[in-house]
């Protein structure tokens, strides 16, 4: 990582050493917000942003995301987590408390099409994507120059379906070595094994080049052209073992007309893929997403 970006990250960490986020989901009942907010108040935390949603007033699921400022958070975080367990157990909560200064580490997987990688690198360089890009893994060499030019480690691991297992072993080893929190498939074009996916639940984000569930699988632009659609789209989703069936994080579309051939669709599509993936990654990195029953709540 080059120095100027290291400085940016350090500055961000300093500015956010008291900033925390609490995400909770649990069966709905009265008293949850009261218990959580009293807990935060008792630690002198000021709630800056809070979003809450319940699936159903009766017998539904309760979801909340709170961003707060808490003096001395760095020192208190561990004990706060410890003390929150009591509340969590009382309400049967799934929860996480994440200090904002712990910047997430991402691995980006790419193949030969670099536009999604480029967008992420760009957002990252301009300080708009606050994550550490720990490494880039590719089954091709084309991305090496741009990645290493930014002092980001680049790992070339040739891949095809016959050697999938060995490839993934190497990849998993690298992910562990770099202590990665998030895997971005930025048009990686290789299918992952159930093992790999199971090892990284809700941590792998893919960009699919269609508005799912239309055009699941290969060659969506060719099929969009064949069908004569007037809109093309892109979908970012968490990866599960059902191809292109994981929880959708974000989608967008662009209008096209009869003059567009497959190449034109691909060109127009690139720009949607770029922005849809970038938004999804930002929301993930800012702890805005809760996954529930193959859907996302995006706060």
């Amino acid at each position: 990582m080059n120095t100027s970006f290291k400085d940016q990250i350090e500055q961000f960490k300093n500015q956010n050493q008291n900033r925390g986020r609490l995400l909770v989901s649990c069966p709905d009942q009265p008293g949850i917000v009261s218990a959580i907010s009293q807990f935060l108040f008792s630690h002198n935390a000021n709630i800056l942003e809070s979003s809450q949603y319940s699936t159903n007033p009766e017998g539904g699921i309760f979801f909340i995301r709170i961003e707060f400022e808490c003096p001395g958070l760095k020192e208190k975080a561990a004990s706060m987590e410890q003390q929150f367990i009591e509340i969590a157990e009382k309400f049967s909560m799934d929860w996480r408390l994440t200090p904002v200064y712990k910047v997430k580490k991402a691995a980006i997987f790419v193949s030969k099409e670099l536009h999604c990688l480029q967008e992420l690198l760009w957002e990252w360089q301009s300080g708009d994507l606050m994550t550490e890009i720990a490494l880039v893994i590719s089954n091709h060499e084309v991305a090496r120059d741009v990645v290493e030019g930014l002092k980001i480690p680049f790992h070339y691991i040739p891949a095809n379906k016959d050697i999938r297992q060995q490839v993934e072993e190497k990849q998993l080893q690298l992910l562990e070595e770099y202590d990665v929190d998030l895997i971005v498939l930025a048009r990686y074009m290789q299918i992952l094994t159930p093992n790999f996916v199971a090892a990284n639940p809700n941590k792998i984000i893919n960009i699919h080049h269609s508005f799912l569930p239309a055009f699941i699988g290969a060659r969506p632009y060719e099929r969009a052209y064949g069908r004569g659609v007037k809109l093309i789209g892109a979908t970012s989703h968490y990866v599960t073992n059902d191809l292109d069936e994981g929880p959708i994080i974000e989608q967008d579309i662009a209008r096209v007309d009869h003059r567009a051939n497959v190449d034109t669709l691909k060109k127009i599509g690139r720009s949607i893929e770029r922005s849809v993936l970038a938004r999804a990654i930002k929301w993930h990195v800012e702890d805005r997403i809760i996954v529930h029953q193959n859907k996302t709540i995006v706060f």
Copy 2:
């Protein structure tokens, strides 16, 4: 039809008695535009708007739509058509020459959900949809008041899949009686038989409440909810015998988030369905659409 709208139509016919449209598709080769434009010039026609598109410079298909002003068109139209045959044969053209003053006659089919019908009636009343609404056919009585209130004939024909053939016989008879050019399925919710479809090629326009090819078939909003999509849409298309597989005319979408339940999706969706269907009908009525190999060219 009430008098004020009759006046509007008469006024439109008077204003457009010299206005014509020529639509052509044929194998591409040099000289087509030249031949057509010389033909029009020789009849003193002034080209007001012309859009042309070829699928491929070599061995492709040529499409053109020309709107022109031609003094005395009303008297000349038949002889122009006669004379155009020579050019058409030379270039193996599919073509039609439509005088604008011949306002198209539409039949609207509805079921119980009236929002699409309402939108069309509204556009029609405000003079934005220049067609004669010859009649409304429904398998329910709910639309009767609003339709008859506008002095449009309303025909109640109960329908279900067991009596499909008798129902369609009655419908076809009415379409003939009213000399209908266009059939709009404004959320009609009944499947048409191959016979009915074959009798009305590229004349039946449907609105489907999803961005096709996602959620083909029944209950698309329920399935969109189940899948957790972040966009919902609507698609207007010509009806063929493959369910929801006909040539797409127009599509649009709206963003939704995790707070939307099925009812909310339906409410948001209604407004997209309304505008997508209205645009498709207008383009059809203005002779802007050429169907080619299950796709539409919309000029």
Copy 3:
């Protein structure tokens, strides 16, 4: 009001007799959410949806909207309000607690263009806009039939700038008589006096036919055409005494191209005006809007 809609409102009131909304804004400090949520919990209220936002972690303004379910709300509402005063004073809150079963009463002002009125009536008839349309006031007779056809009182009050004061006296009298909570200017095209506006702070919602602050004032479509813009828009805002300068609630746009003349812009614009106004009214009616320093927070 016709009976079927009266039934719909009664049903809604019954379903929501325990549903309340609390809106608060105050200087930010720790403990606000805790105090509010404890208060609600102490009344057995279950928080269903909560949105919060602070302008600034230090010295900023805190805003929250909470929707809750509280058994026996109808009986308890007055005493809850009474008890909340203590919290409100402690934190210097602006606040309101609104029971959902108290459906708001709206007056719609129109002139000769009826598309915005029609959209509201339609949403209202289909149960998507949960308000009582208490009366329609117009300086023209054109809307009478459609309004009275729905059994809504229609008041014709001719207006022009010379008799502004007498006109507004009549209007204010009617608003009092019908106990109106909300005034919708659905393309009313008359300027209101400072007196009238002062009497109805944050209660008058206007639709302006441009994306403000572009084309403030009269004839925005003509000026959009003159400027050759590629987008046209509409803006819904609360009315203040600065023409078209009040807090913006919602805006939207549509793409246009060089082929659009002023009439086409108006036609396209109508559909944006309709949906922008309808969304703004719904948000107001659902108590989703807080006005702060000439801006809106829309939860």
Copy 4:
């Protein structure tokens, strides 16, 4: 320019050596299309795409853009231009005939914000923007590395309003030296003198960071924040001597809400600025734009 892109350009030139574009505007009358298409046919040209538009059937202005394939164009172009003069004079045409293989040469002017430059470089590298980027001129050094890394000449010319004339003299000299057809102000942030503008009519394209005519002039995001708009936008236009008043080529917007502060608006805005400018440049480079009375016809 690096070799791989040189190859791309050479390949494009080879593929398009017979491809030409004819743009015409003139007073409308019958016979124009006929004369043009006969002319093209007489040179064996096949019309691939043609778009035409008239402002008014009677006494209006006629515009047409034709893209054609003409064997031996490279050799014939000059004599075709010569022969077309007769038709042009007969109909009082403004016209240009541009061979596609003559790739346009662009100069990009930037200041410190590089996102628009980056987008153009990116589109250019991926072959989506078929122009020669002849040079980049900046009043800051920040862009040097990225520009020279792509083997594009970079010229640093410090600028401020006191030395405007000397600066522009140097710039005009460079533009002549590099034989530039198009000047892109990719967030250049300096005002040009009437001299400079007059020397380059309809050849300077600017990106303004608002949906014009809203927020003309400086600091549009700050003013958008102050006004509390719910949409922000960007506008690409030809530069004239009225600040931000030149013919609009393209505009787009993004939705924002109350949570966005000025910095957020700028981040969101960058992505709109990038795509709006890129589309405008592409349309210019593909000879899709005709300027008429401070408006653009974009075919």
